[in-house]
Symmetry: C2
Subunit: 418 residues, 2 copies
């Protein structure tokens, strides 16, 4: 059945939006359409939803498990021991909790990297979201492991075709300090041959750059360039510790950056060189990172962190305007991830969020985009539609209680095993 | 009628909380009490509410009106022209919108500075919140204005006794660059004689420090010390540009700091020297500043900004732990503002917030305080109780629609007059 959103504020006018299957069929005043599902858009605003370009969704199970620690303690004493007992079923339910949170906060797409691909993919598929999903590839420079990891990825790539088109396989070499040159080259070739995206953590810490200099005599992005890894199908998360030459390389190779400001601050990773990247017109998107380091998946919050941080870092309050970060969090993500959306227009996929304009944080209406970026919290998100399907209406998501109960139980059991 | 909150999680146990008038009468399991108002606390957590120590509440009318500008443009082209036509009635409705937002985000106290004292005080009184309210004092170094401003404050101080005890008059010299030494000395004497608090903006920008050095040959806090202004009744907002000697002075005089991280970032004001202040055990509280610079009054968000910012500034993720910033935002505010609260205990005032533990952002429950600080958004706030009175239950506040309609109208009219 078609869906008709009536009397909603869209592009500064109160209009109707007709959705046919997964496509925005028409945006106009007073659309007449029989036999369709009516959504009351009165006092609501239709906006693009969020496209979150760096997550570890199942790590919602670790929300609040490990905070306020130095990175090595955080990993060695808390994260890794917790992960030791994690099962595909845990990843499935953790990812469902993440999807639920994303739906509640207006996100329809996430770019995910974690263990147990099928647990991750099943969750995204069932919950109705779009996702790029990587089976994380780590070989620790061991050629046997490398071989086995490549085979695993080849198998998963074939198996992944069984999921909805919303769920895309991507190749996920974890980072240059956990993946051999041989495997990095293989990932790049595999991605190019099979037309899939590549997901990598890059230049997140100063230590990573120092180690790369010691080992390869060059900086991380120079190293990746020299081994033929970089290209417009690479999404590089973090990208904090960059020099000018590396920024030029990112530009030349059209690499897509995922900026993760909250995680970078909370883990004390470093300062994202936004001003320089912006001047060079680098492709930038926004991501929350996982709940072990953020500790939520809330893109509204992430936009405010990103913009306020950029302003202070440059001592220039005009930098990263509300409109700019809103585009980074919405349109850029859709465009760079090759989703036929990124704008609310006829013929585009029906990815739509409705905002409650009567929420105090959206009042008054001097500037709606400013209200969204600098004031709104998730309490303003009323309805989330992905690929034409209503995933949340009036704040309610089907099956919410069960997901919360199962995820709580799984998380506590895993903590008890540590 | 007494209020009984049943089966609520408090101090890590499911218990009941009995409120008699404005006081927590009893916290225990299965309290038997006839003829009282029952609040169902199942799957909810009782916590201290937030005490916001720096606001300009009525500036909610300017939310989204002026962003992404250099400070002088922001003030001269936008804020001041908007304020030119503001009336007591505008301030009243803008403050009511602010109170509504604070109730929705779990805040029960705010320390406010703005124009039209009675508009401000009436709003706080009617909305049921606690507030310290200043008639902002600015004399621009003109002795006639100074005299007139002092008389205004003396009059208001007498008139302010008509409001509820929740609403306290405070004296509000705006800043050292807008108020003469004569008036600053007068404020201090007046506050000491009448046992009221003093509210001032202090060392917010580098420019302020430079101008002070030129004019007085010393830094702002040295200057205020030398004129006898500082003491434990002074709440100094911002306090960014401090040297070591000034930090020692703040310690010696037991000055209360209001840290406003989001505003400081968004306006590119500078970096709060948290690590040094913490080492010296300076009295610190948390404030949001006004909606013209933040752009909301959400203390949950402010806690996360404060902590993540402190961690990155020091490159030390152990700094400003979840518990520490939670205490700053709750207990410290209550204690330093001399409210008989700051802890959920029998005999203390019944200032209580109930959190929805089934909100995705509170799941799982490895660490509830971490969830509140690093994950929760205002969608988790279920019930707000101030001084024994329920101001919000299940997310609903009486009269909400009318406040939003009137505030929207007032804001748009003011913008049209510019």
């Amino acid at each position: 059945m078609n869906t008709l959103i009536q009397n909603v504020l869209v592009h500064n006018e109160v209009q109707d939006i007709l959705i046919e299957k997964n496509i925005i069929k028409k945006i106009a005043k007073h659309i007449l359409e029989d036999n369709c599902n009516i959504v009351n858009g009165t006092d609501k605003l239709a906006i693009l939803p969020f496209y979150n370009t760096h997550t570890h969704a199942a790590m919602t199970l670790m929300r609040g498990y490990s905070d306020d620690l130095h990175v090595h303690q955080w990993l060695e004493k808390k994260i890794w021991p917790f992960e030791e007992n994690i099962s595909e079923e845990d990843v499935y339910i953790g990812s469902k909790l993440a999807c639920l949170e994303m739906i509640k906060t207006g996100t329809v797409y996430y770019n995910d990297m974690y263990w147990f691909f099928h647990g991750m993919a099943r969750a995204a598929d069932e919950m109705g979201l779009r996702a790029s999903i990587c089976a994380v590839l780590i070989d620790m420079f061991d050629s046997e492991t490398a071989k086995q990891q490549r085979e695993v990825n080849e198998t998963i790539f074939r198996e992944a075709k069984k999921y909805s088109d919303r769920v895309q396989f991507a190749i996920g070499p974890h980072a240059i300090y956990t993946v051999s040159e041989e495997s990095l080259r293989w990932c790049s070739d595999f991605a190019n041959e099979n037309n899939v995206m590549i997901n990598i953590h890059l230049s997140e810490t100063h230590h990573e750059v120092e180690e790369c200099m010691k080992k390869h005599g060059k900086r991380p992005i120079e190293y990746l360039k020299d081994i033929g890894f970089l290209g417009p199908n690479v999404i590089a998360a973090h990208c904090i510790w960059l020099d000018d030459n590396e920024i030029d390389i990112l530009k030349d190779y059209e690499v897509i950056l995922s900026h993760n400001p909250t995680s970078n601050m909370k883990l004390s990773s470093g300062v994202f060189p936004y001003e320089k990247l912006h001047k060079k017109n680098i492709k930038m998107t926004l991501g929350t990172d996982g709940c072990a380091s953020n500790n939520n998946l809330d893109m509204l919050e992430e936009m405010k962190f990103a913009s306020c941080k950029a302003k202070l870092d440059s001592m220039n309050p005009t930098l990263m305007s509300a409109e700019e970060i809103f585009n980074m969090a919405t349109r850029n993500g859709a465009e760079y991830m090759k989703i036929n959306g990124g704008v609310l227009e006829e013929g585009k996929v029906a990815d739509i969020v409705l905002i409650d304009l009567n929420n105090t944080m959206m009042v008054p209406r001097h500037n709606i985009i400013s209200n969204l970026v600098y004031s709104a919290t998730s309490s303003c998100i009323d309805t989330t539609i992905c690929n034409g399907k209503i995933l949340m209406e009036n704040g309610n998501v089907d099956g919410e209680e069960e997901i919360i109960a199962l995820a709580s139980e799984a998380a506590i059991k895993l903590a008890e095993k540590v």
